[in-house]
Amino acid sequence: MMAGRGKWISLAVLALLIGLLPLVFPSGYYFRVGALIFVNALSVIGLVILIGYAGQISLGHAGFAGIGAYACALAPEHLGLHPLLSLVLGAGISAAMAALIGKPILRLKGYYLAVATLGFGILVSMILTNERALTGGPDGMNVADPGLRSLLRDMGWRLSGGEFWYGISGLVLLVGAWLALNLFDSPSGRAMRALHGSEVAAATVGVDVARQKLRAFVISAVYASVAGSLLALQNGYITPDVAGFLHSVEMVTMAVLGGVGSVLGATLGAAILTLLPQVLTVFAEYEQLVLGLVMVLVMIFLPQGLLPSIARRLKGRDA
């Protein structure tokens, strides 16, 4: 389905879109929107690995985004760490947390898993909201500039903040997509997809089901964490909303809308749901309503998501 050649086509399409879209941007503001799309797409690709490959659900992935974001906000101030190293630290903490909570949680199936991850996400968001002394509470806190842009300026390359973060997020997204596509057609990816199809059969061919599920969960947590860090760095400001339940649901909706098994689809889903509130300002007020509606409509009419459904129609329903 997506072996060998398909990987490079997907990556080329993504690279071209990232590279060429700025040519049609009507204003500098759209660099900001683009960067936001890329960051969202990154966390959604993580969910593609968890939901699409391994068939597990998480309704608390914003918790990991929160960990990544606040690592970049807190570590430079309290540990004197460079913001980029803080991103790595956040990813490490997220991975460790995912491994710790994933071990017992991933024994659960279906609804139980959804509820358990939901609980985790709420826990993180509550801590971020309530630890005012550290996090500034619901008002959020400032995030130090990583100083990379001024470094580039010293080298004679002047970029606006929007342009700079558009480029960085785009690059990270490409790397994230490359890793996810590599994983798809690798022994681990096959094992994940196999247990998605039949846990019993996967086990009888030697797949350690619990271990592979945990692997998918940890990897997807790192994606969400890095996305959260990038969001914090590019906004220079962060609030506990990043870890909120709504953000978790938003991620899953983006994945489901675009096509939960497809890396390109994830990007498309992220793009649509990120653009919507920019185009329709009323959307912001009714976001929860719209997300729910999108989810219901996709489930009824396009259960495989937008991109796989379109691809299937183009191929003319292969036998």
């Binding site: 389905m1 096959r190 998605h196 019993v200 086990a203 009888t204 061919v205 990897i219």
Partner: protein, 261 residues
């Protein structure tokens, strides 16, 4: 020496004894069939041997090592592989990927190699791919390698499951009704395949309803009824055993009891 040794194996579900005190052995290259009426406990027995159910009583040993209660993925590492009566195919994956999943143990490596597509991983995957194509050829599915498995016919899926189980290069293979739902030609193919496998030294444990197939290829037959072993021996002996005939055709007392019950 026997490769698989089952001793006094038993399990109960909610007080009902599904399998009780079953013992037998399978040697390398031997074909042992487990037969019995529907509900006799054949698949339950398979599920205990392959680690899917934890046996309530008794033990299973593989090559002299006690493997009672060892999880399926560990048994796979020890050379035990199986197919399923109700197909357990990875429906959304391609036919080739299904067989490649069977190569998991020989192609797996570090997760970093997988994420970064390192040369070592690609080498292992290429080796697995070559082997998978060979196996698909062997079960005549090589022309369907890139199709989504869910689109294949029932008989083709049965063969695909066998190919996947063979990808592990097992020492013992458990086949749960491999010929069920297959036509005469397909059944004959499976017959040949099983004979070939046993000739190559693989021990085969078979559950099958096609009596002609069972009588033709088995070296040894174990007969179950109501979860208990009622007979065992060579095909010719078993087929004349009064207890076996009674179990399959029913006796007058039993019919009477059924009528009363």
């Amino acid at each position: 020496m026997s490769l698989l040794q089952v001793s006094g194996l038993g399990i109960s579900f909610g007080g009902v004894k599904a399998v009780e005190d079953v013992s037998f052995a399978v040697a390398p290259g031997e074909i042992v069939s487990v037969i019995g009426p529907n509900g006799a406990g054949k698949t339950t027995l398979f599920n205990m041997i392959s680690g899917i159910y934890l046996p309530g009583r008794g033990s299973v040993s593989l090559d002299g090592t006690d493997v009672t209660g060892v999880p399926p993925h560990r048994l796979a590492e020890m050379g035990l592989s199986r197919t399923f009566q109700n197909l357990q195919i990875f429906q959304e994956m391609t036919v080739l990927d299904n067989v490649l999943a069977g190569y998991h143990l020989s192609e797996r490596g570090s997760v970093w190699a997988d994420l970064l597509s390192l040369p070592g991983m690609r080498r292992r995957a290429a080796r697995a791919r070559a082997g998978a194509h060979q196996l698909l050829k062997r079960v005549r599915l090589d022309d369907k390698a890139d199709q989504i498995a869910g689109n294949l016919s029932y008989g083709a899926l049965k063969r695909l499951e066998i190919a996947r189980a063979l990808a592990l290069e097992p020492r013992i293979l458990l086949l749960d009704e491999p010929a069920a739902g297959c036509n005469a030609v397909e059944t004959e193919e499976i017959d040949h395949l099983i004979a070939e496998l046993s000739a190559s030294g693989i021990a085969i444990l078979l559950v099958e309803h096609d009596m002609k197939l069972v009588m033709r290829i088995s070296n040894h037959i174990v007969v179950l009824d109501h979860g208990e072993k009622i007979a065992e021996g060579e095909p010719s002996t078993v087929s004349r055993d009064p207890a076996v005939i009674a179990a399959y055709l029913g006796t007058q007392e039993e019919e009477q009891a059924d009528a009363d019950g």
